[in-house]
Amino acid sequence: MPNKTFFWFFLPTGLAMVLFIGLPIISTGVQSFYAQHDQVVKEVKKCDPFGCTVSIVVDNEETTKIREAKPLGKFNGFGTYVDRNHLATEEIKKFWNETETFGEFVDQVTNLPFYKALIFTLTYCIFVTPNVLLLGFIIALSLNAISRKIRGPLIFGTILPMIVTPLVGSLVLFWMIDSQGIIGANIQNLMNDPYLSLKSSKTLTWITIIIYGIWHHSPFAFVVFYAALQTVPQEPIEAAIIDGASRFQRIKHIVLPHIYPVVTFVALISLMDNFRVFEPIIGFSAEGSAQSLSWLIYDNLVNEEVILFGSAAATSMMTIIGIAILLAPVLVRTWKEFKTAR
């Protein structure tokens, strides 16, 4: 495509991207460098049906004046990024000096909210992404091998987990693993431990969410792989069969290299999706045991009566950076291949 045609072709999309993705990200970035003004409080008498007390309120007149002068708030630089609820640089320095063993240090660091969330998010990515790829590929291969007559309904059944709204899917599983639900009660019976609860144990909650993640994301990998399998040329495969190659050898040497770019694509998309894991935490009411970076943002914005815009913005920016770092190896590789291809 000539560059000029490409430019006009891409313009509407590009504009929309700048308007709806670029600008909000910039605005979030700016926001993350600001904190609220110092609160001006005053002592007043408060009376309610239970009696009167003297206590403090925010002085609105004063606050309005300050806010009008500087609507963005107090410039805080990287203050929010390094505070205890984010990167916690000072705390980590302190832990490093105070703790005696490395294990103790790690314990202390992983107790900080940001690192706690980061560890869950990464664990989730590390376990879910490869399993999704593997499971999706196996399902695609198996479905590709069976009779065309029953393939349609089977494909439909396979992509069901993706059709079900994430929140509904996780809620259904949430009720099933309840200590009185079908899975929860059976596991209690099996382990002979009436106090066993999938929901109160941290490890078990993590495992549940990871299994849910694999269940929910596999159909996406399957659909893409299945489409890619349709493009595998038959001739080399037939030649390989004549040469006596086993099924495994055929897949390894012909099918996989052929669909390799698609594997990269699916890996990229699932990594991005998994890094933003959020719905299952809400669906499973797992806030107590599992927090992800996205959940931290949500928590800052809605879980408290006071909205922490600066905190949420800082976590958002760090999530974007996190995704960029995760994707970097794959992107660099794709870029190199692209260049050699030319």
Partner: protein, 406 residues
């Protein structure tokens, strides 16, 4: 023909039953929490909407919507039904208007005790009181010869006895869902121990002390007697547990008693469900509970005409003797003419015992939020009480710094 006549008659008498407040214009849009008493209240105010537009949003997620919706100008809602805790963010952001003029003009039936005044200005009109108190199963306690517990130590002992008897595996329940609910339980228990959340006269946190540790230990003891999924249970979930007969002792909101004691569910359980005041803890004499009021506030970013229409409709409900008589078992109404029934025992006992109201401080929301997420690991047995409280203070401090309170 007869049908038409009946319909006509119905319309005639039907409408005559509604008091018309003669509201000619304006639009009314209310945001409220979702429980039966509030529905009754809003329905009552609707009766006198006259020719004004009337919309209402009942949502248990009201806290999340309120500030953004009222910040917009003009704001989405003309009124917000708030409580001690949820009025604070509205005050902090200057989102609600003083009601003095409107009270003078249209608030004839409203009692002085209903007015929430801050710095001499009426900011809200309360209409019901609420608290968390004990519910017990009379049949279970009687069978095992247990007296009705008055302290949380007795609740623990009674629950252990019930468990030992083999009647119930998890005899105790309270809303321990990680987040707001769990933090609320901490607030109650800490106040019961005589704790103060902030160093006096400042916004410096003050929970990492012996009282805080005692509070956490008591919460842990109770959680061990609860369903192992307690960290996911909110008020609705423990209500279901109770109605399934799995629980014999429970701490729950007074405003939920109506749905527990209604005709739905197992009649034997409903019959044996009894209410008593909130328990004390650690030898203290004030109950481990907080008093709450629910009242209405009016949005600042809305036209005066809308505010007037909204006030008149809501004031009609907030001074409605018929409503409090008809719905006497839904809430402890603060409205004139309310005769407390058996379902109001919890709140009345709490007031008699000298329960404290939930602290109405600008930075309390941040403390509540920090508590809700940082004490979970202690309950799971993953860290010590001191460490958990240290985390609470640290999490609170960095949030309070960002908000400019410290």
């Amino acid at each position: 023909m007869r049908k038409i006549l009946v319909t006509l008659l119905f319309l005639l008498f039907g409408t005559s039953a509604y008091a018309d407040c003669n509201i000619k214009s304006g639009s009314i849009n209310i945001l409220a929490n979702d429980f039966p008493a509030l529905r009754t209240f809003v329905e009552t105010s609707k009766q006198c909407k006259g020719s004004a537009d009337f919309k209402v949003t009942h949502s248990s997620e009201h806290n999340k919507i309120a500030v953004p919706a009222l910040t917009a100008n003009p704001s989405e809602f003309s009124a917000r039904i708030a409580a001690n805790s949820s009025i604070v963010p509205l005050m902090n952001q200057d989102l609600i208007r003083p009601l003095d003029d409107l009270v003078k003009k249209y608030g004839k039936g409203i009692q002085d005790s209903q007015l929430i005044t801050i710095d001499g200005k009426v900011m809200a009109v309360a209409f019901m009181a609420n608290t968390q108190h004990l519910y017990y199963r009379e049949d279970v306690l009687k069978d095992l010869g247990i007296d009705v517990p008055k302290t949380y130590e007795e609740v623990v002992a009674a629950s252990e006895k019930i468990r030992a008897s083999g009647k119930m595996q998890y005899p105790y329940a309270a809303a321990y869902k990680a987040g707001w609910n769990l933090a609320e339980e901490f607030v109650n228990m800490y106040i019961g121990h005589g704790g103060e959340f902030f160093k006096s006269g400042s916004a410096e946190p003050n929970v990492n002390n012996a009282k805080g540790v005692a509070t956490l230990n008591m919460l842990k003891k109770l959680s061990e007697l609860s369903n192992p999924d307690y960290l996911t249970h909110d008020s609705e979930a423990i209500k279901v547990e109770w109605e399934s007969g799995n629980v014999a002792l429970m701490t729950l909101w007074a405003s939920r008693s109506g749905t527990l004691l209604d005709d739905e569910g197992d009649p034997n359980i409903t019959k044996a469900t009894k209410l008593t005041g909130p328990a004390t803890v650690g030898g203290g004499n004030i109950p481990a509970a907080t008093l709450w009021w629910d009242g209405f506030t009016l949005a600042k970013n809305r036209s005066d005409a809308d505010a007037e229409a909204t006030f008149r409709a809501l004031a009609h409900a907030a001074s409605n003797k018929k409503m409090v008589a008809d719905a006497a078992d839904q809430a402890v109404w603060l409205v004139e003419g309310f005769v407390p029934g058996p379902k109001s025992i919890g709140v009345i006992e709490a007031v008699k015992m000298g329960a404290k109201p939930y602290p109405m401080l600008p930075q309390m929301g941040l403390m509540h939020g920090a508590l809700g997420s940082e004490i979970v690991e202690f309950l799971q047995g993953k860290e010590s009480a001191e460490q958990a409280l240290k985390d609470v203070e640290a999490a609170y401090t960095s949030k309070a710094k960002e908000q400019g309170f410290l």
